[in-house]
Each structure stands twice: as C-alpha cells, then as structure tokens.
C-alpha cells in the first residue's frame, strides 16, 4: 500500500447537503440551517440521497432555513424566538439542531446562545452543529455533517445509571485492561460480566444497525441500542462501561465524543465485507466480554460468495473518494479478487483508520486530497472496469465511456455485515451485466 498526497481539489459533495437526509432519517428532529441565502440554496438544490441525476426531493417540513441578511444581522435572541414559533406547528419534535457554519459565525450569530435559549423556551434539547468545524486532519468529506450530528447525538445519550456502573465497574475495567494489553485477551473471555454494546453509525441506511445487531445476537452479544437509532427518544445509555462499535470510517468526531464520555471505542475493521464483519463482531464481542470466533462463519460466507467472486475477479476498480466509505469497500473488493487501482481519500485520518489501512492489500494505492482533474486523466489512461465516484464526476465520466457507481448506491443497498458483502458484489455484477447488455445492442 502506498499513500500519496496530491494536494489537489477533490470532487466532494458539500457536507451541508446531508441536512435533508438527516431530517428524513431522524423524524423527530427539527433542523434549522442558520446562514446566508447560499446555505439555504445549497441544501434545497441537493436532495437527500444524491444520485448522479439528483432526483427531486420533497420539501421536508422539518428543515427550516434561517436566512440572515448580511446588511442587517439579527439581534441576540431573535433567532431563538422565531425558531420557537416555527416549532409550535410541528408535532413530536424531540430535538432542535441548529446547523450553523462559518457564515453564521462571521455574521455575528451566537448559535450556542440561541440554542440554549431555544432549549429553555421549548424545554427540549437544542444543539449546534457546525458543518465547517475544523478537524485534526485537513480535508472535507461529504459525510462530515453526519459525523458532527452523530457526535451531538452521542452527547445527548443518557448516561448509564450509577447503580449499573457499580455492578460492572471492577470486572469491566479488568477485562478492558487485559483486552487492551493482550490483544485477543483470554482473560476477557473468562470474565462473566458483559458490557452493553452500542452501535455508532449507519446514519443513512436505517436497517444497518438492525442487521448488525442480528449478527451480534448470533454471537450471543446483546446490543443495547444504536446511535442514531430510529428516534431521538430511544437513544441508548452511553458512558463509562459501554462498548461503542463504530460502523463507518468517517465518524472520527462521533467516536471521540463517545470516548470523552468514558465509553470504550473498539478500534477494529469496519463491518464491511466478510473479513471486516468477522473481525468487527469478534473484536466488539471480546470487548463486551464474550469470546466468540467468527472463523467458521466467515469461511462459509466466502464460500457462498464464490460465484459472485468469479465475476469480480480481476476487474479493475477505481475509487475517486467522496464519502470516506471507500477504504473499507476497497479492502473488501481487493480481498474478493478485484484489482483496486486507486482509492481517493479527500481526508485520511490514519490513526483512526489504522486497522483498515493495515488490512488493505499491498497493491492498493491511496491518494490523499486527490485532484479531480488528475483523477479523470488517470481514469482515462487506466480505463478501469468500474469507477466508484462522487455525483459531480459521475456524468462526465459516463460521457467518457466509463462505467460508474456512486458510493451511496452501496450505502442504500445496505453494505454492512455478511449480507452486505453479498449485496456489494451483486450490485457490481449487476452494473457490469447491464453495461454488457447495453453494449451488445446494435444501435
């Protein structure tokens, strides 16, 4: 594996576009986008799940734009009182999210203050999410807003009751310590306690957490809940003694937030692909206090995929990079026999993704902050079989005769778990099959 830094401009969908998707996904949240006309226009133009054709999306009554006139910035507290008025017409609101980025800040809006005021007046939690928040590692991913929102939700999770903690505190600590020191700790399996597991991620594929919870229950590990879950009212307790299993590679802030609350965040592979799921289930189970082996299950999963793998073997795949999901996907496809030509990473947090990067095959090149023009040229030169690219590059690449899919197609199909591994391969095979059928037409 080689990591190159191209210092270019990657083609990444603005993180703010995710507002629509999040509002659809979390039905009891009122999202207020605080900013200028530009922010409101962006959110309105880009639909919930951007496919290359950007299908029309219904206006969501739970997304409101606070458009601030730069010539006349609002007085303190005005924004809050307007939000309170609009929230009155929407039943069942459990959380108010103020999405306030850099423009809101430079217009002098104190979003945190307004949020506190909203919280007090409505007697509901109100939080600020900054889509432009500076991060440890530079770069922008199109999924950054989801990460920030999940970090906020982590902080909203109820803390575990002290009585629960007292019961499990000492053995849990011992298990955690040995688990950390000895890798696959044998001690851990011997300890009788089991710590609750909370799944973190899958913000845009609602069924994801349920699928993984099923895998865990097969391994006799109980999943206490998921963040974001289905409703804000059902957020699981998260704090000291909780094991947090991160499902997406882009959730650095959310994982950090969980760690700050004292939870143990398991650093392992993402549950994408067969080996990824196996390692994920095994490591999380171990951290939770149950020793399990996924070897048999992984082997049979690979065997089941035999036919599909034959179709994928030797196919050349290029990832331009957009969501951050590309790295686990590339890892799985390389394991399944595909040739991964390049993986673009608009941002690469090497420490967070250490396990993923280690598991990535030796022949895979990662290009950090790739330049989309450079990538287009490389795609033209190498002529991959499939390009997995962002919506901005999709049409231009299709016009140049390449076969393209969006990383979001995989998310929509459900890419987690063993079942997800099959769906990933099926999606690719279907894509190639259809292209072959269309190519064979005599037009």
């Amino acid at each position: 594996m080689t990591i190159l830094n191209e210092s270019g401009i990657p083609d990444v969908l603005p993180p703010l576009h995710a507002v629509n998707g999040l509002a659809e996904r979390l039905p009891d949240v009122l999202v207020v986008v605080v900013g200028t006309q530009a922010d409101a226009h962006l959110v309105q133009c880009l639909p919930a799940v951007p496919s290359p054709n950007l299908p029309r999306s219904r206006r969501n009554p739970r997304v409101i734009f606070a458009v601030i006139d730069p010539g006349d910035p609002p007085q303190q507290g005005l924004l809050a009182s307007r939000i309170v008025e609009s929230a009155a017409g929407l039943h069942g609101t459990k959380l108010v999210l103020l999405v306030a980025g850099r423009t809101a800040g430079s217009l002098g809006v104190d979003a945190a203050f307004e949020a506190r005021l909203v919280a007090r007046k409505l007697d509901l939690p109100a939080e600020v999410v900054n889509p432009d928040a500076p991060r440890m590692v530079p770069g922008v991913l199109s999924t950054d807003l989801e990460d920030s929102v999940l970090a906020t939700l982590v902080n909203l999770c109820p803390k575990r009751r002290t009585s629960d903690l007292v019961e499990t505190a000492s053995p849990a600590k011992r298990g955690g310590l040995f688990g950390g020191l000895l890798g696959r700790g044998i001690e851990a399996s011997q300890s009788k306690d089991s710590r609750p597991v909370v799944l973190l991620g899958g913000a845009l594929s609602p069924g994801a957490a349920r699928m993984l919870a099923a895998e865990f229950s097969r391994a006799r590990v109980e999943v206490a809940g998921a963040v974001p879950g289905l409703r804000i009212g059902e957020l699981p307790p998260l704090g000291e003694g909780t094991v947090v299993a991160v499902m997406d590679p882009n959730l650095t802030s959310a994982a950090t937030a969980a760690e700050r609350r004292g939870a143990t965040v398991v650093r392992t592979l993402m549950p994408v692909g067969v080996d990824g799921t196996a390692r994920f289930v095994q490591d999380v189970a171990e951290e939770a206090g149950t020793r399990t082996s996924e070897v048999v299950r992984a082997r049979s999963a690979w065997e089941d995929l035999g036919v599909l793998r034959n179709r994928i073997r030797g196919k050349r795949i290029f990832f331009t990079g957009d969501t951050g999901l590309e790295i686990p996907l590339a890892r799985f496809l390389a394991d399944a026999g595909a040739v991964v030509l390049e993986v673009g990473a608009p941002r690469l947090d090497r420490r967070f993704l250490a396990a993923e990067l280690q598991a990535l095959g030796p022949d895979v090149d990662i290009v950090v902050s790739p330049d989309y023009r450079g990538q287009t040229n490389r795609i033209d030169e190498t002529r991959p079989d499939v390009v997995i690219c962002s919506p901005g590059l999709h049409l231009p690449l299709v016009a140049r005769g390449h076969l393209c899919r969006s990383p979001r197609d995989f998310l929509e199909a459900g890419l987690y778990g063993y079942g997800g591994a099959r769906r990933i391969l099926e999606l690719l095979v279907l894509t190639m099959q259809r292209a072959e059928t269309l190519d064979s037409l005599n037009l």
């Binding site: 210092s7 401009i9 990444v12 969908l13 603005p14 993180p15 200028t36 006309q37 530009a38 922010d39 409101a40 226009h41 962006l42 309105q44 133009c45 880009l46 951007p50 290359p52 054709n53 950007l54 029309r56 219904r58 206006r59 009554p61 997304v63 409101i64 734009f65 606070a66 458009v67 601030i68 006139d69 730069p70 010539g71 006349d72 910035p73 609002p74 005005l78 924004l79 008025e85 609009s86 009155a88 017409g89 039943h91 069942g92 980025g101 850099r102 423009t103 430079s106 217009l107 432009d132 530079p138 922008v140 950054d144 902050s369 919506p391 901005g392 590059l393 049409l395 231009p396 016009a399």
Partner: protein
C-alpha cells in the same frame, strides 16, 4: 433575518456561475470554502451533457502560502489559464463566505492587459445580493469588457437575442423558437446571449440593429447599456402567447424597416399552422374558462407573459400574480396591474402560499416550490416558471407560437381533468380545537392535513373532525 422553508433564488455567486457557464470561452474561478462548491455537481446533473462545468474552485483556507496546494488566488488564476488554454475570459466569483471574510483580492497581472485571457472581476459583489440580479450585472460587465472594436451594423437586418442562462427551463428551445420566427420575417439572429454565445459574439453585438429581450431579468442592464452607448433599440414585450409574440415580431419588423404587410403575412401563416392557443381558446366552450381562477407565481417574464396570455387570449381570471424578484418590484407591479388586482412581490414561500390560498385559485402556475401548495389546495399545478427542477431530454419552448401551443396543451390537460373530477363530498364539520391545531400546521401542508383528517373521521364514522382525530391523522 427570515425563517424560510425554501428559497427561490441562489446567492449571487450562483448567478454569476450560471452566466459564466452559459458562454463558451468563459471560465469562472470561484473563491469559496471547500464546502460551498456544489455548482459542478448541479451542472452535471441538470445539463446531463457529460461536460464538466467551466468552474474551478479556489478554496478559502488557512495558510494558503504554506504549500503549493490550491488556495492562493494568484496561483489559482494562473492555474486556470494553464489548464484551460482556450479560455478567453476568466471570471472571478466570490462566495458568501469569501465576501463575509473580507479578504482582499489581489490585482494580478492578467487583469486589464487586454491580452487573452482577460480577467474580469466584479466590484459590486456583495453577500446580500441574489442570483438574478448578479447574473444581470455580470452580463453587462462582460459585454462592457468586450466592447473594444464595435464592428459596424450588418448590411441586412439582424438582432441580438437576450434570453435565459443555463438551468432556465427549456432555455435552448426558447432561443431556437425565437430565432425560427425572426428568421421567417427575414431577420437574422446576430448573437444569442448568454446561452450559446461565445466570447467573440459578445464583441460583435454592435452589428445587430436591435436587441430582443426574451428574458428581461438577465438582459435588462446589458441592453440598456447598449442602448445608451450605441443607440441600439430594444424590444421588451414578453414573447409569450400569440398576441405577445405578434407584438414582438411587429416591433422588430418596424425597427428593422421591414414591410409591415409581409411581417403580418408571416404572422397569419404561423397563426394558421403553429400557434394553437387562439385555436384552443376558440374551440373550447366558454364555460371551460368562465369563472376559472388562476394564480401565477414566478420570476418576471414568465408570470407577466403568462398573465397577459391567460387573461386576454384565454379569458381566465388571474386572481394572484406574484414575483420573488424583490429588486424588480416596481416594474412588476406596474405591468401586473394591467391584468390582475392581485399583484404581489414576496420571497418567503410560506407567505406566497398564504397569498395563493387567499386567492382561491382553480389552477396554480408556479415554480417547483409551489407544487406542495397546489397539492395542499387540491388544485392542478403547472410548473412553468423558473426555478423548476424537471429536466426533460426534449425541451419544449414556452415563447413564440410553438410555445403558445405548448401552453394550450398544458391548459387543456389540467382544465379538462378538473372538469371530470367528481364533486367533493359534503363539507365535514370541524370542532374549534381541531381548527386551532390545523392553524398551526405549516401552510403548504395544511390542505393535505385537512384532507387526511377528514378521511380519518370518515373511516371512524365520525361526522365531525375533533382535535383527537386530527392529531391521530397526523401521527
């Protein structure tokens, strides 16, 4: 500050980029945060040609001089010049974040040299400005920048067409229809501006005898400039409906000193073959249009043009006609008052919904944001005013005689359908509590909420909608 559920216009940078992407040979450098660059994605999805938008991002970031990565403006400009050798004009557009950050824009060597590529910057850019106004001013500046040679008037009659920029609904088809009609009366189109023009065309505008404005929102200042500077007359009547189109053709004929009889002959010929709106108005029994109320909302040209055509040529009652272009308020109200009492200017979708609801229309013509209102009121809807998000592969013009037929078809389908609809069941009673709850529902959802509540009440065998039934139907 306003709390809105949607916006009709984008920011000023978006208007400038739309304009820049319409003219060949122009490349825009957008100074913005990395998270503000969505134009390329939109361009790919809306145009569906497979071409990349002629827009490059110059990301606004800390310490741009620490590395050779993009971010240093001067370097990014030379990068554009190097990467796009055929570019003749480089436009510098600044996003809201860039304008609010108050960074100073360095003057580079490329500026003002007159050698290609020329760098055009806009001193009027401000963060409060909207898309349409910015596009209008940018077009004028671009034309001013190319007014070096001013070639002589062409020996035969020609006109410039000032139409919509890219993403306009069926924009290319609008130009094509106007050009077809002008060609029939013997007037050649010197240039289509901005869509379909190249940089060279901008310098040759002075060849034309007159300017025809298909889309006044974008061409207004540019044509006024040409009128003041070169004395070029302009035709501003919207070319919508058969009467509007005829008026434009006659004015052009006059300005180009054509024989009025021959122009009239062409108009008659077209009326006989292509223009179906007058024919439709005559064919349908008067009851179809009698007491039918229409609400129209949109930009400037389309609501006014459609308002004239529907009120005069078809005989529908226009109970509301509005625009979201607040900077054109006086002009709009002046024209709209000639055919309706309900003219208004409003850029908040909820207020627009309230105005439309108050006008009690039987048909709503508007932008994509009004679709929900029509749905909520249960009236047919025609998305004929920009912004619209449908992107058909086959474009159908709304201007000219062919456009009048498109309009006739659209009217025929919706007016027919409502006539066939069974009369609604007898009105259901609402308790005060239920009415109070309904009043809190956002306007554009209210009609649907009412219908669902009544349906629920019927299912439960209740004769009235109570607060409980209403809340149940919403959960």
């Amino acid at each position: 500050m306003k709390l809105l559920r949607g916006v009709y216009e984008g920011p000023q940078s978006y208007g400038i980029l739309r304009l820049a992407a319409s003219i060949r040979g122009v490349h825009a450098l957008l100074r913005a945060l990395p998270g503000e660059a969505y134009f390329r994605t939109l361009y790919a999805a809306r145009e569906r040609t497979g071409e990349m938008a002629p827009v490059t991002l110059s990301p606004l970031r800390e310490g741009p001089d620490d590395s050779m990565a993009p971010g240093n403006l001067a370097r990014d400009i030379s990068g554009v010049v190097r990467r796009h050798p055929k570019t003749e004009i480089v436009i510098l557009a600044r996003s809201e974040a860039s304008l609010l950050s108050e960074e100073s824009i360095p003057v580079t060597e490329a500026e003002g040299t007159g050698r290609p590529p020329e760098l055009v910057t806009f001193s009027w850019e401000s963060s409060g400005m909207r898309e349409t106004e910015a596009a209008e001013l940018a077009l004028e500046d671009l034309i001013r920048a190319r007014m070096h040679d001013r070639p002589q008037r062409s020996p035969y009659p020609t006109v410039n067409l000032f139409g919509p920029p890219i993403f306009g609904p069926d924009a290319a088809a609008e130009y094509a229809e106007a050009e077809r009609l002008l060609d029939m009366i013997g007037v050649e189109v010197n240039a289509r501006v901005p869509l379909g023009a190249n940089v060279g065309d901008l310098g040759r505008l002075s060849r034309a005898w007159a300017n025809v404005l298909l889309y006044r929102e974008i061409g207004e200042s540019a044509t006024l400039y040409l009128q003041d500077e070169l004395g070029m007359p302009r035709v501003t009547t919207p070319m919508i409906g058969a009467a509007g189109t005829g008026a434009v053709l006659r004015s052009v004929g006059e300005l180009c000193q054509l024989d009025p009889k021959s122009v009239q002959r062409t108009i008659w010929a077209e009326l006989a073959c292509t223009a179906k709106l007058p024919w439709y108005a005559r064919l349908e029994p008067p009851e179809t249009f009698q007491d039918r109320r229409v609400a129209i909302f949109g930009d400037f040209t389309y609501p006014l043009g459609l308002g004239y055509a529907l009120a005069r040529e078809v005989g529908l009652e226009i109970t509301a006609c509005g625009t979201y272009l607040t900077h054109l308020e006086r002009d709009f109200l002046f024209h709209a008052h000639t055919f309706t009492e309900g003219a208004f200017v409003e850029d908040d979708p909820d207020e627009v919904a309230a105005r439309i609801e108050a006008a009690k229309p039987d048909l709503l013509i508007g932008t994509h944001l009004e679709e929900g209102v029509a749905d909520s009121l249960g009236v047919p809807f025609l998305p004929l005013c920009p912004p619209v998000i449908d992107r058909p592969f086959v474009e159908r013009p709304l201007v000219g005689y062919a456009g009048s037929s498109v309009l006739a078809d659209a009217l025929d389908s919706v007016l027919q359908r409502t006539r066939e609809e069974p009369a609604g069941e007898a009105g259901m009673q609402w308790t005060d509590g239920a009415l109070q709850e309904a009043a809190e529902v956002p306007l554009f959802l209210r009609g649907r909420a009412r219908r669902r509540a009544e349906e629920r009440a019927r299912q439960q065998g209740s004769r009235e909608v109570t607060r409980e039934i209403f809340l149940e139907s919403r959960s």
